[in-house]
């Protein structure tokens, strides 16, 4: 298997890499970019703990090959904060204690970013529908839903 040259944008920075065809995106991010925010859970694209954004679309990084990000824009949870200032979704998760073990949190936060990009004023049913894409084994969904509602409120206030 020969390497494939890819160019892409990772958390706002242009990148070039050479990857094996069978390298998964989650392995590339964690092992080659040292971005450990995407967690390996089910390795079947079900649990969503490895969620990242590719061109603003949430995808399970365990179900994508690294070569598939060629020419794309990738955002991981590490790319959300601006220096020491957390993204408003991250802050909403903290303020609402929306995690216990935290394993699902980065995926939930990126899923929320994608949700609010498409639905800036989501109702509860839309939030629940979106969050059902990912799994929280601590079952802290009440706080997670509250955090998403809080984040949506912050987004609305910021856009006034």
């Amino acid at each position: 298997m020969s390497d494939i040259a890819i160019t892409f944008e990772l958390n706002g920075e242009p990148k070039r890499a050479a990857v094996k065809p069978n390298m998964l995106l989650v392995d590339y991010l964690r092992d080659h970019e040292q971005l450990k925010g995407a967690k390996i859970g089910c390795s079947r694209g079900v649990c969503g703990s490895c969620t990242v954004l590719i061109d603003d679309t949430p995808v399970a990084a365990c179900s994508k090959f690294a070569f598939q990000i060629d020419t794309k824009r990738v955002t991981t949870v590490e790319g959300l904060a601006n220096g020491e200032r957390l993204d408003y979704v991250q802050q909403a998760f903290i303020d609402n204690a929306a995690f216990q073990c935290g394993y699902c949190t980065s995926g939930m936060i990126l899923l929320t970013k994608a949700l609010l990009a498409r639905h800036p004023d989501p109702n509860r049913a839309t939030i629940v529908e979106w969050l059902s894409s990912n799994v929280c084994r601590c079952t802290g969904y009440v706080q997670i839903i509250a955090a998403v509602e809080d984040a949506a409120q912050r987004l609305r206030e910021a856009s006034r």
Binding site: S43, P58, K64, S132, S133
Partner: protein, 268 residues
């Protein structure tokens, strides 16, 4: 630990993927040719199912990436049918004006399958070609009498979606489109609240004919003809069975769901 060629000893992990040759097809003809020349091909479109298959032991010799073939992402009306390209992503397809305009009840049902994250990446063709009984595309499309259009080196052929489970597909065939016949007054009701025990689609047409497709997580979807409002036919013919739920319970669930669905459709 196990020895992997070119990688040495590595931890035995279900994340260890086999080596394969990658073909990034630029045209449909190139993809068909690559399929024809491959000993053990796999096709990559949305990619939401394939890594799971790798983890289950699938080890293709060649991976043929068709995700950038625009020709397969088109939706169009052709004669008295709507053709949906094989790599149309669920979220795009169910919101497409042609599909929503001609088959609004199907569009609504399509917008509910799987989950949001999957719907944003996975394709309708991949849903079928994965050939997993728990996937929902075959249930909906069988109810609509849809056909799969396949292209291989030998030419083009079509197979009814409901027959895909028991009909050998042509060797090295590429699914290019799903063809749904447009029928006057067609309405579809989709019940997925009881998944994974049962998922059921009901289609009624203007001329009082209809179809019911009942499926469980573990059994091939079953298709039944339906006269408008006639549940007894289904109850008498239900043959669903799976190792988890059992036939008698599935029969009752199917009949109960059908009753609810027909009431929602105004047929009872």
């Amino acid at each position: 630990m196990k020895l992997v060629p070119a990688a040495g000893f590595i931890a035995t992990s279900f994340r260890t993927l086999p080596c394969f040759n990658l073909v990034r097809a630029q045209t449909v003809a190139e993809a068909v040719s690559a399929l024809d020349n491959s000993a053990e091909p796999a096709v990559l479109a949305g990619g939401t199912d394939l890594p799971a298959r790798f983890n289950e032991g699938f080890s293709p010799s060649d991976l043929i990436d068709i995700s950038r073939l625009e020709e397969l992402r088109q939706v169009r009306i052709a004669g008295n049918a709507i053709e949906i390209g094989a790599t149309v992503v669920h979220a795009e397809g169910c919101a497409h004006p042609l599909i929503y305009g001609h088959l609004p009840s199907f569009a609504r049902a399509w917008s509910r399958i799987a989950n949001v994250r999957i719907r944003l990446s996975a394709t309708l063709g991949g849903n079928l070609m994965a050939r997993r009984t728990r996937y929902e595309g075959a249930i909906l499309l069988s109810a609509l009498g849809a056909r799969m259009r396949l292209r291989s080196a030998a030419g083009e052929t079509e197979i009814a979606v409901e027959h895909m489970w028991n009909t050998p597909l042509p060797r090295a065939a590429l699914l290019t489109a799903i063809v749904i016949p447009l029928r006057k007054g067609l309405v579809l009701d989709y019940a997925r609240d009881l998944r994974p025990i049962m998922t059921q689609a009901v289609v009624l047409e203007d001329d009082a004919r209809g179809r019911v497709v009942s499926a469980t997580e573990y059994a091939i979807p079953r298709v039944y003809a339906l006269e408008r409002g006639n549940a007894a036919l289904v109850e008498g013919e239900i043959e669903l069975d799976d190792p988890v739920t059992g036939a008698s319970y599935l029969k009752r669930v199917s009949a109960t769901l059908l009753d609810r669905q027909l009431k929602r459709m105004g047929a009872r």
